[in-house]
């Protein structure tokens, strides 16, 4: 293993250190990357994908693609936006080819416990509201409103002009508030 792989893991290693270690063959470093970014990536995909059951499958594909292309990442410092970029492209590609997931999603929901906690109700309400937004708008909302990304960073990840992202966020917010019956 290269020096980078021997990074002292008692302190939180930087993304760049983890990327360097993973590039030199450390699965432990790559597992740390997965642990570090699985929650934000999966949350983002659950909001972007109309069918929630697709989200975790796509998230796995995202990390697998990341492992395969890790050598193409010029610097580990932009790992997060790179991962989200892969996630966004993968979600768009999958949305077109996953019509079958409708059936699977219905089957998945049929096997879920039916207890409706307030959190679950709110989550389902948000999912249904998000599903009514156009795909690009949904992604901008998921990053900027739910994920706390800046418009500029979201614009880089989604490969959209800054003005378009701002417009998507503004319209998306208004639409969600209207559907959910809440006011800003």
């Amino acid at each position: 293993m290269a020096d980078a792989g021997a990074t002292d893991m008692t302190t939180e290693p930087t993304d760049a250190a983890l990327v360097a270690a993973a590039r030199s063959g450390s699965d432990a470093a790559f597992a740390r990357i997965v642990d570090r970014y699985q929650a934000p990536v999966r949350s983002f995909l659950r909001r972007v994908c109309v069918y929630e059951s697709d989200a975790d499958d796509i998230a796995q594909e995202v990390f697998l693609a990341a492992w395969t292309r890790l050598r193409l990442l010029d610097t580990g410092e932009r790992l997060k936006s790179w991962l989200f970029g892969i996630a966004w492209r993968q979600a768009k590609m999958t949305a077109r080819s996953m019509a079958r997931s409708r059936n699977r999603d219905q089957a998945w929901h049929a096997h879920q416990p039916q207890a409706e906690t307030p959190n679950r109700e709110m989550h389902l309400a948000m999912q249904q509201a998000l599903a009514q937004l156009p795909e690009d708008q949904r992604a901008a909302v998921a990053l900027c409103l739910a994920g706390g990304w800046t418009h500029q960073d979201a614009s880089d990840v989604l490969e959209m002009p800054l003005g378009t992202v701002k417009s998507h966020v503004s319209r998306g917010r208004a639409r969600l508030e209207e559907i959910l019956g809440v006011s800003g």
Binding site: G5, Q38, R120, M122
Partner: protein, 118 residues
């Protein structure tokens, strides 16, 4: 990632509670294991593809060399040709032995020596 507060949306609005209700657990070990298994499968397939490619190249090379070996056999005579065949067999044997020793898929190698998972 640099943050630009003036350009950042706040989650402290009416929608934040709805978004927070849909957050996934910070770390799901099952998800990590699934990813690492997929990585191991891909690594194995890549290794297999590379070895198959190398073997195919060796076969093609051997096919191209047969006429040359024929000419060499005539020029060198039987004793030297036997030595050449033995050397070739030794090389092929070494290649086969190396492939046999590395026949297992590279399962996720959690190198826990100095790089510790929490």
């Amino acid at each position: 990632m640099t943050r630009e507060p003036e350009n950042m949306e706040s989650r402290t609005d009416a929608l934040s509670a709805f978004f927070e209700a849909g957050e996934v657990a910070p770390v799901d070990p099952g998800f990590r294991i699934a990813v690492m298994e997929a990585v191991a499968r891909r690594r194995f397939r890549l290794g297999l593809a590379i070895r198959t490619g190398v073997l195919a190249l060796l076969v093609i090379l051997a096919g191209l060399l047969i006429p040359v070996v024929d000419q060499l056999a005539t020029a060198l005579g039987a004793p030297l040709l036997e030595i050449l065949v033995l050397v070739l067999l030794a090389v092929l044997g070494a290649f086969a032995a190396q492939a046999w020793l590395q026949r297992h898929p590279d399962l996720p190698r959690l190198k826990l020596g100095r790089l510790r998972l929490r």
